[in-house]
């Protein structure tokens, strides 16, 4: 049974992105026309009805976010599409930009119309350089065809989009860090308040959404929220683009309706574990996501059911590890990533990652102590509760869940026990 659906991905491989006409033939910019018909409040209502939540990781209700942005006063507002995707195991935004850039442009334009913004940026990190010119070209063609620029579709609405090539960093996925980076500073989170919606890029009111969120918004307007909410569960509506990778037969980005089980994702969509090995664990939501042991794979992939088990959907990454993987060694790779990616601004993240890395290295080397296990857990919690931004707060998630589900693997690396 294949549970893959095509709502936001329906145009993938259906048209040549050099031809905007082909996109239009597939129903392109119909959603924008609908937005103009509905008016800003109508768009907000439709998005709210769809139950769409931000697809970048934080899962904030998109309709609410747009409504707040629309209510912020300001003559000059900014829309930013956050395409700073670079977390290990997450690569779904890349597909959207590559196979359907116009949908992102359309989604952003709808958002801009809704919140009364005239300037937009797509922050694409430098690693995705091969996409920069493709997206720039799409913007240019959209402008020529009257879908961007002045008097869009013959209305008085004007909106322009620029591609911003960002140095990128894991922390730049966080909106205020992304904005700092766009302003030419190091990507480090800002203190809130003031909130980005009031005081974002160049201190202007700013709306930041993930690539997939804009794609979803355009799709929702195209098919209507009623049709969209036929997908998913009562609480997690619609579809989600996941990136599936690791020890799996068919890795890739797939669009699924919320509510399928992890088992279905791995065995039906992903074609099962490589070489028919046994599944050991999954990591959901990217590097900052929880480790899920094999015995939990009958959980349904939706916000609520996972959250009840302390698991977040996050960016939609699903990393599969088979029986040959060591949890401790895996945690080391996650830890090394965060040690590298911490911006260094706050104590818990900067110093916590330093100390946790040292301790994990002792586990990897097999000469950790029982005290080390307590200490590493203690400071993982300090990071979780005390860090400045989401990076530091979620960096120890994998570690804490690994200790919870695989304590024995840690005990086996303790010097006295292993001898």
């Amino acid at each position: 049974m294949n549970r893959v659906v095509n709502v936001i991905t329906k145009n993938f491989n259906k048209y040549n992105i050099e031809s905007i006409d082909e996109y239009v033939k597939l129903g392109g910019f119909e959603a924008l026309k609908k937005a103009f018909e509905l008016g800003p409040q109508g768009v907000i209502d439709e998005i709210k009805a769809s139950g769409l939540r931000g697809r970048g990781g934080a899962a904030y209700p998109t309709g609410k976010k747009w409504e707040q942005a629309a209510n912020v006063k300001g003559d000059r507002k900014i829309i930013i599409c956050n395409a700073d995707e670079g977390e290990p195991a997450t690569f779904k935004d890349r597909y959207l930009l590559e196979y359907d850039p116009y949908k992102i442009i359309e989604g952003m334009t709808i958002a801009a119309y809704t919140v009364k913004a005239n300037e937009g940026y797509i922050y694409i990190r430098e690693e995705y350089k091969h996409l920069h010119n493709k997206v720039r070209r799409a913007i240019e063609l959209a402008k020529k065809a009257g879908y961007l620029g002045e008097k869009i579709l013959g209305t008085d609405f004007k909106f322009d989009i620029k591609v911003f090539s960002g140095a990128g960093a894991y922390v730049c996925g966080e909106n205020s860090s992304l904005i700092e980076s766009m302003e030419g500073k190091s990507g480090r989170p800002r203190i809130k308040p003031p909130y980005i919606k009031q005081c974002g890029l160049y201190n202007l009111p700013t709306l930041v959404n993930n690539v997939e969120t804009f794609a979803a918004a355009a799709s929702i307007l195209l098919i209507g929220s009623e049709e969209y909410t036929k997908y998913g569960t009562s609480e997690s509506k619609g579809t989600k683009l996941i990136s599936l990778c690791g020890n799996i037969n068919k890795p890739g980005a797939y669009e699924i309706p919320f509510g399928v089980t992890l088992r279905e994702i791995i065995y039906d969509i992903g074609g099962g574990i490589k070489e028919n090995k046994k599944l050991k664990f999954l990591q959901l939501g990217g590097a900052s996501g929880a480790i899920v042991p094999a015995d939990m794979i009958d959980l349904r992939y939706c916000y609520k059911e996972l959250k009840d088990h302390g698991i977040e959907i996050g960016s939609g990454a699903i990393l599969v590890a088979d029986e040959t993987n060591s949890v401790v060694d895996f945690i080391k790779s996650v830890q090394d990533f965060f040690l590298h990616e911490s911006c260094g601004k706050c104590t818990p993240c900067r110093e916590g990652n330093r100390q946790i890395t040292k301790i994990i290295n002792r586990f990897v080397a097999g000469d950790a102590s029982i005290t080390d296990l307590k200490t590493v857990e203690k400071f993982a919690n300090v990071m979780k509760y005390a860090s400045f931004c989401g990076l530091g707060k979620t960096a120890p998630t994998a570690l804490l869940s690994a200790i919870k589900h695989f304590p024995v693997e840690f005990y086996q690396r303790i010097y006295k026990v292993s001898r």
């Binding site: 960093a169 190091s186 480090r188 203190i191 308040p193 040690l339 590298h340 990616e341 911490s342 911006c343 260094g344 601004k345 706050c346 104590t347 818990p348 900067r350 110093e351 916590g352 990652n353 330093r354 100390q355 040292k358 005290t371 080390d372 307590k374 200490t375 203690k378 400071f379 919690n381 300090v382 509760y385 005390a386 860090s387 400045f388």
Partner: protein
């Protein structure tokens, strides 16, 4: 704005919307530990020590979180204490624990927190990065192995002073506070104002300690060691011995310095009066001879460094007068030596200054033009306090004594040099009487007093209205300088002090200097002025005698040689060898 009623540790309080938890807690006497927080600075929330609990498993930083109606705060739940302590342990694991020999021992905010949390042993592997200490310059030392990355120094350097030498670099464990390209301070346009040293919560940035140098001079029997004390020190050093900020302890400092072993104890105020005479005449000379106006004061060495680095094309606007410190030094090796029959090479001149930039100033090559170094050693207020404590001299209980002559007779005009606007006010008292030959009815120019960034006043000099301006803190100076540069400043005379509040807020002043403390010190300064018998520099009899016996007349040959100097552009960032050009010298040659 509406009010919010909140509960902190079972105490109910109503505060205006927008109040932070930290502020609200303070109002009901609940103290929340802080580290990166500074009362005069923006909220940073990067140390994370002020975490408090606002819900099940929900911690927020008290410094940055505004209250909401119905909020319930617990400032010492188990989760709060465990997390705060955890954060502290993390800092300590990467912090040198050499408190006993740290310059900030006893005044370190981190140390206080450790005492508060009863920190004894942690399970973390302690490992401090061995980073090179920057001792490249004569004023400020950076030991960034001790840096806790609170960013206070960055804010003061970038926003208060607008100099922007310090900023953040790198990420994660390599994150550090550093000049661009990790240059040493001497290779940057650092003005050595030392404001960073006063806001650092730990011992990561501090003044170069010259106390040993002074001890050695005092122990050297072949040397005649004299000391001068700056106006702003007398209302601040008391703080180190338990006095309230602003308490005037002049007589006690004099007595203490004598106990330390100085051969003569003098007052920088004497040369402050002298500066007024020279600078006043220079101003009049410029006015009468179509010289470069507005003329800008030159007493503040941090300001001079800023000028040379950032506004070299405005050098001609600055008075050629040396600062009172350097005028004193020059006279100590000439006039004083002659008068006392001493060999100038055997005179060791020490200054007690509120300022770190004075160390750099004393080391300038221009400051030994006649063959001797004007000033041999500069101690900050903090360093003097350290010396007194080291010699078990209890300033608090010592009996007051008077300055020695001839450099002890001073005026109220001189003492107000210690506060922003003081030099201007002192100058106006003299210039007015010189020009109009009338007695000034009201000596207090209150328009130029106080902590407002830029202050203006107008004075009528025999029918000519003269407009003056006062700026303190370099970001304020920048505003005025841009006006001058663009020809938009209709001022005749401008006073610029590098440090916010003037010298009372100097970079060498006691740790814990805040705006509130500065206000008290300023009050102290004006109280001293009021209590002085003579309040105008040109009425100082000792100054009159000095001109009669030695200098001849203001802006004369001797003055020119000893009391005036020149400045040069300074650009080390681009390593461009600027063509040196002399500042326009407004002194007259006979």
């Amino acid at each position: 704005m509406s009010n919010c009623t909140i509960t902190i540790d079972n105490k109910v309080i109503t505060v205006p919307e927008g109040t932070t938890i930290l502020e609200a807690a303070k109002k009901v006497g609940i103290n929340i530990p802080t580290l990166c927080h500074h009362p005069d600075q923006k909220v940073k929330a990067n140390c994370r020590i002020c975490l408090v609990q606002t819900g099940p498993n929900k911690l927020v930083t008290a410094c940055s979180t505004p209250v909401w109606d119905g909020m319930k705060v617990n400032t010492h739940s188990k989760l709060v204490r465990d997390t705060q302590r955890g954060v502290l342990e993390l800092i300590l694991a990467n912090h040198p624990q050499d408190c006993l020999k740290c310059i900030r021992n006893g005044k370190c905010e981190l140390q206080k927190l450790c005492e508060m949390f009863n920190i004894s042993k942690t399970n973390l592997e302690e490992e401090v990065d061995s980073l090179e200490i920057d001792e490249s310059n004569p004023a400020i030392i950076r030991d960034h192995s001790k840096c806790i990355k609170c960013n206070r120094c960055i804010e003061v350097c970038q926003e208060v002073q607008g100099v922007g030498i310090l900023s953040q670099a790198h990420r994660s464990i390599n994150y550090c506070i550093t000049p661009a390209f990790e240059k040493k301070l001497i290779n940057t346009l650092c003005v050595f104002c030392g404001q960073c040293t006063t806001v650092c919560p730990v011992g990561a940035i501090y003044e170069k300690d010259d106390t040993e140098k002074v001890w050695n001079a005092l122990y050297d029997e072949t040397l005649h060691v004299i000391v001068q004390i700056a106006p702003a020190v007398r209302v601040s050093i008391g703080e180190e011995f338990g006095f309230e900020p602003g308490t005037n302890v002049t007589g006690k400092v004099v007595a203490s310095l004598r106990r330390l072993g100085f051969d003569k104890v003098f007052d920088t105020n004497f040369t402050a009066d002298l500066t007024i005479i020279e600078e006043g005449h220079e101003l009049l000379h410029r006015i009468q001879n179509n010289g470069v106006l507005p003329m800008i004061t030159s007493c503040s060495p941090g300001w001079i460094n800023y000028l040379e680095g950032f506004y070299p094309d405005l050098i001609k606007h600055v008075s050629t007068c040396k600062s009172p410190q350097q005028m004193f030094g020059a006279l100590s090796k000439t006039y004083y030596a002659e008068k006392m029959g001493l060999d100038p090479s055997k005179i060791f001149t020490v200054s007690i200054m509120p300022c770190t930039a004075k160390k750099y100033e004393a080391d300038r090559v221009e400051m030994s033009s006649y063959g001797y170094k004007d000033v041999d050693a500069v101690l900050t207020t903090r360093e003097l306090a350290r010396m007194l404590k080291s010699a078990s001299i209890d300033l608090a209980n010592i009996e007051e004594e008077e300055f020695d002559e001839p450099f002890g007779i001073t005026t109220g005009a001189a003492v107000i040099f210690g506060a922003t606007g003081g030099v201007m006010e002192a100058a106006l008292r003299t210039v007015y009487e010189l020009v109009t030959e009338k007695e000034l009815e009201k000596l207090d120019f209150t328009e130029v007093r106080g902590l407002e960034g830029i202050k203006e006043a107008e004075i009528d000099l025999n029918g000519t209205s003269v407009k003056v301006a006062v700026a303190h803190g370099l970001s304020n100076a920048k505003k005025i300088l841009d006006m001058v540069k663009n020809g938009e400043a209709d001022y005749t005379f401008i006073e610029i002090m590098c440090c916010p509040g003037g010298c009372i807020g100097g970079g060498g002043q006691p740790i814990g200097t805040t705006t509130k403390v500065k206000e008290e010190r300023i009050k102290g300064i004006y109280n001293v002025d009021k209590s002085m018998k003579i309040r105008k520099s040109h009425e100082n009899p000792a100054i009159k005698q000095l001109y009669k016996e030695f200098l001849g007349k203001p802006l004369g040959k001797v003055s020119h040689k000893l009391l005036h100097t020149s400045y040069s552009p300074r650009n080390q960032i681009l390593d461009i060898d600027y063509l040196k050009y002399d500042s326009e010298v407004a002194t007259t040659e006979e």
